[in-house]
Symmetry: C2
């Protein structure tokens, strides 16, 4: 079991790296405090498409195209495409994958998709199964809103605990090279379900999953929070972020100042987005935008990205099920 550490963590001694990546966000995200971290800000969130689902597919394809261009890679040389999204039957990913045909692994991890894809991609590289793996995800405010919550025509306003789905896409090409940010570990989470049922407060439901995976990652790697310049959770939002801090401090962890949260930070307070951003694209664009820029600019040497997912559906909510949550973590080094 040379590639395992402890009970949930895989180690990547062969040094898989990010060869290239591309982030796209919508106009709202482009007015937030992290605007400069993203590669492209869309002029509008429609892009001349007839439906927002078609727009979501398109921005995923745009991000794939640019990621391949940046590393001068042809899709024929990609050994696996790993992708997923929030839509029923992950159709943004499968439709995009029919344009960019490579052996395709469709995954579903809700907003944890990015880390699941990144961890799996690094695993395929470490295990001599692939030399180049493309990973990606996308989400769109309008597609998620009408599928999971309300018809967008109702223009429902945010309450303090619910999230605003990020419109965007994040794609990365993983492979081997002499330089570039490396993926050193992946910790795949178990489902954590504390019995919470409020789909308007997914941050509180997801915080215990983030706690579980962070705790296990630190145990498996014999590290502390201080060993990371930043521990970036996906989209816990303002409530979930607090809860994670509470859980960690109750168990005596120090270094809580290293914690940051993509969802809490992607929008400014003036943007009236409830608890913050969410959606599969949230941690994808914050991870490949903000976190990667920190590594590239030398502001951080080692970052843990912890993507959390609330694995509910509109139907499970109606049927009174609680919300199973999960968090997957990937450790990145400059």
């Amino acid at each position: 079991m040379s590639n395992r550490l402890g009970s949930q963590t895989l180690t990547f001694s062969k040094v898989p790296r990010l060869l290239s990546s591309y982030t796209i966000v919508g106009p709202l995200e482009g007015k937030g405090p992290h605007a400069l971290d993203f590669d492209e800000i869309l002029p509008d969130d429609v892009l001349d498409q007839k439906t927002p689902e078609k727009t979501e597919r398109l921005i995923l394809e745009m991000a794939i195209e640019k990621t391949l261009q940046q590393s001068n890679t042809k899709i024929e040389d990609v050994h696996f495409l790993i992708a997923g999204d929030l839509l029923n039957q992950i159709t943004s990913s499968t439709l995009a994958a029919s344009t960019y045909a490579a052996p395709f692994l469709g995954i579903y991890g809700a907003c944890s998709t990015f880390a699941q894809a990144m961890g799996l991609g690094a695993t395929l590289l470490q295990g001599d199964f692939a030399e180049k793996v493309l990973i990606g995800t996308a989400s769109h405010y309008q597609t998620a809103e009408r599928q999971f919550r309300y018809p967008i025509e109702l223009n429902i306003q945010h309450i303090s605990s619910n999230h605003h789905t990020v419109t965007g896409a994040g794609v990365a090409l993983l492979g081997f090279a002499n330089q570039g940010p490396q993926v050193t570990h992946a910790t795949f989470g178990t489902i954590v379900d504390m019995g919470l049922k409020d789909s308007q407060d997914m941050g509180s439901a997801m915080a215990p999953a983030a706690f579980s995976t962070i705790k296990q990652h630190l145990k498996d790697t014999s590290r502390g929070l201080e060993d990371y310049d930043m521990v970036l959770t996906g989209d816990l939002g303002k409530h979930g972020r607090k809860m994670l801090r509470l859980l960690l401090s109750k168990e005596g962890f120090s270094g809580l100042e290293r914690l940051q949260d993509g969802g809490s930070q992607i929008y400014g307070d003036h943007q009236k987005t409830g608890a913050g951003g969410s959606g599969a694209a949230c941690i994808a664009v914050m991870g490949l935008g903000y976190a990667l820029n920190m590594l590239k600019s030398g502001k951080a040497r080692r970052i843990l990205v912890v993507a959390t997912g609330a694995l509910l559906s509109a139907l499970t909510v109606l049927q009174g099920e609680s919300i199973p949550c999960i968090a997957h973590a990937v450790a990145l080094e400059a």
Copy 2:
């Protein structure tokens, strides 16, 4: 790239094996010609649950429980649980995974889920990432019917080209042992979309994907159809099965008598199930039931299981998208 063969196939020299498995089917499947191949036939398809979704989750949990029991394995000793299903946000799998907590990889491949999970599981074993991997999937006629097609109360009758979703679950534990059926190769498919849009004829849409993956598998492994005692496709059904034969014979492949199709064979002609069975459980129960029994009884020495998936959603059909299809293959040896 020691673990790759050709452009899409992975090879498993460390000999991952099926340590145990369990198949459950509903009453209708239990009256079909393969009844004796399944471990358990349900007395009814409700099992005292309030909704069919709750039943689907339950039978997946039952199959997990029995699979673990048979090999005397605790869930704590399982390094990964890989599962997926047809429901929006794969909620049968995520809810079952909150009962059987192991590091969880949620996947979506529609009816190709079984082979995707099996191939990924063998990959994790081959790459020294795990010693035991549990894989599973489930489907239920009523949940799929009302999600993808019509309210079940309408009691819509089958036409000759559409499918009947199999009620059932199939679970397997992969690991290392001195005996038992082994997984020797996995060929992960690319998306194939020939522009077909008729969601009432998924077999015809999926056949070109099965053809693509079989052709690539044979090329990568330098094998012919004759090298397999059986090539078992998932759920092409009566129309799709014909189309696959046509495609293979047009390209000069011999050995077409090795082809069998789970969907075409799981029900008897008298059962009025249209083109045959489909659903994520179809190839799972036929693969872990029928195919495994062939290997165990010595009737077959080598079998290729080719699970096909139609990656549509109710929404993509309404929005006029064509149906992206995929096929993943795993080679099994006695």
